[in-house]
Symmetry: C4
Subunit: 234 residues, 4 copies
């Protein structure tokens, strides 16, 4: 089962902290997020000049999506295979894992992601070190549009994960491949819009290691976001 | 099962209208068509200039096809996962769902598709709002040729759906992936011919929101269609 | 089971000719080869100018391969889903189907393929009618090289089909997808070499309908083939 | 089972050498590596000029990865379907196969790979014979960076293989497809970095037959490697 999280039903979260399976799962998340960020963002580094964006989007989307599937194959039986704080949060909200576990996973994912990005920096020629697969939002989009996109993307991702891992449904093939292809399809469509974030650990890692926090993000207040969405529909 | 539709065997369609599962299924179709049209047509918006059509076709085809698979994973257990009035119609003709359900699905799909297209318009820079993934027929094709193409495409799609969901056959892997890849392969081949419609809800949504009903469609009468097909074979 | 073929064990081939399942299978092969050739070769018609061959190979390979998978999903339970005289011949040699069935399948496949190609001609603008997805051998290759390529390709295809359909082996996922992806991968590699024939029905159809039998094929005698292979290795 | 290796539990390796299944497995590895290298490196030969690297990476990655899946489908039940000395070594270390078997597999894989590459040379026009899918490291990378990359790639590949073939885990779909897609995703990301070796038999074959051992490999000593990695992170 991809949905497993120790003694959430007893509510005794502190007791779970003393068990070896929890820490093995945290270690697995750390390692899996490391290799996921390393391989995924490696596909987005323009080490050779690319001419056609469509081929680039297919390549990056397939790499991120299938890498998620590969990581779930590797560690799904240990930790559930989240590699994404948003997924861990969703699982905690759905009472599948305990809040303590979600916090530990998130820390492990962020650390693993940053180490993966650092490793990518180590193997990348120096002149490319300023853009290690950064999540960049299209400059033609304003903040409200980007927020709206990411809300829909994350909704689809979380819905698909629950659909793929629900043991009470008819089985729709491999859960690992199902979740991976969901990530791929969201990348295919959204890379030129918002850079296809959907994963705070991965975006944070690239930003910290590239030392670039300029997301072209004109952070809007909520009313402004609503107003911008209204405007753009006129 | 992907083929489920309430009390078609009792023939008591009106009674079905009073059940909660029907309306939950209608809501699921609405939501799934919304995200399907949003993500699918997003991949067809040229927000960055693309140079190579082949890569573009692969990207769009994979996005539409895998998005169908993702939506079936999400809501297949609730409504069957049609997202397409043509599929709902075929299922009604095959007596898998009741006519009333087919009508409600179609309405929900059209509304969801238009809202998805509207959402895409909201997150797209203004100068691109005239072409939000419109289904365009190649101007070198006449109406008869386009009609012939779409008949074959829809035939393949419906046959494949029945093949993937028939419980009496040997299982050919995941139904969701099977149907999704059918949609993908039809897109790969047909985008430069007829724009790969096959889905009235999706085409309607893009046309309404883009306010563009010019399908380069020189609507032919049936005899003219036959004549044109004969002519082009000489 | 994909391997089914009536009463081969009784050896009473003529009796099989009087059974309805045989003729239903022949009709299924006819129809499936028709749509396979129609969609597959449609992806190879350059109705819009393509700039990058790699994207084109991926598009064509995915279309042919996944279309095989789709057709197996549609008619695999009726006829086995060959769509290829080479496959029918291999199945007959392996005693899986009777020789009479193999002959009937081959005739149905050739007729279906030609009708599919004719249909493609009907929906293609006139100036493109000279090249409807023709199987063309790279002019830099001599006949011996092309023959050697096709022998290896067909060996891989037939071995993979037997591997995917052997009921005594551990199941490697969906047989339809396995065979389809085999066709895809052979296309990815071989399109610029020999045009990735591997299917007499499909090559015949394109040649007949395009009225083009010039395969750049300098048919060599066997000793000459051997000599050419030797030469090219020096 | 993909993990099978004869009498490792008895420790009587010499006795295994007299069994027919072992030699059949060695023969299967020889043949599978031959066709794997032939088809895989064929996709990397630039017989037609390619303009866009991204499409090229997708094509090569899909070819290598899916060809691994196809070969596992063909011979997985006979030999386990390694086609890679690194995999055989990992399996021997994990006590899944005997050391004698690993050595025989490695010899068979290297011979098969070289024959496959020789066959590719035979069917390739003469002016392309200097680069038959050589594994080339990006000249901007130093030796330490390339070694670090390959260590991570091989770690992911071996972890994924153990994950896909562990019978005690929940099944994540087809093992053949899982391993194949792992190879694909590593190629997508790493071709422009280190050429995506991960397979000594395949790299050796291309080098021997192309008579080109210049890997742009400025072989560093271990301290130098560590120093270079440190330097590049500053």
């Amino acid at each position: 089962k991809l949905r497993k999280g120790g003694d959430t039903e007893t509510g005794n979260w502190l007791q779970e902290l003393q068990t070896w399976p929890l820490w093995r799962a945290v270690l697995a998340e750390f390692l899996a997020t490391l290799v996921f960020v390393f391989i995924g963002t490696m596909s987005a580094v323009d080490i050779v000049p690319l001419t056609d964006p469509a081929g680039k989007f297919v390549r990056i989307g397939l790499t991120f999506g299938l890498m998620i599937a590969v990581c779930i194959q590797m560690i799904g039986h240990v930790s559930g295979g989240h590699m994404n704080p948003a997924v861990s949060l969703a699982m905690a909200v759905a009472m599948e894992i305990s809040p303590a576990r979600a916090v530990l996973y998130t820390v492990a994912q962020c650390c693993g992601g940053m180490l993966g990005s650092l490793l990518l920096k180590g193997v990348t020629p120096g002149e490319l070190n300023d853009n290690l697969g950064l999540t960049t939002i299209n400059p033609d989009l304003n903040g409200g549009q980007a927020v709206a996109c990411e809300i829909v993307f994350t909704f689809i991702l979380v819905m698909s994960i629950f659909g793929c891992t629900d043991p009470s449904r008819a089985l729709f093939g491999s859960p690992a491949l199902g979740i991976g292809l969901t990530v791929s399809v969201l990348h295919f469509a959204s890379i030129p819009f918002t850079g296809a974030s959907m994963n705070p650990a991965r975006s944070l890692a690239s930003s910290v290691v590239s030392n670039n926090f300029d997301l072209h993000w004109k952070t809007p207040s909520f009313p402004e976001t609503a107003r911008q969405l209204m405007d753009s529909k006129d």
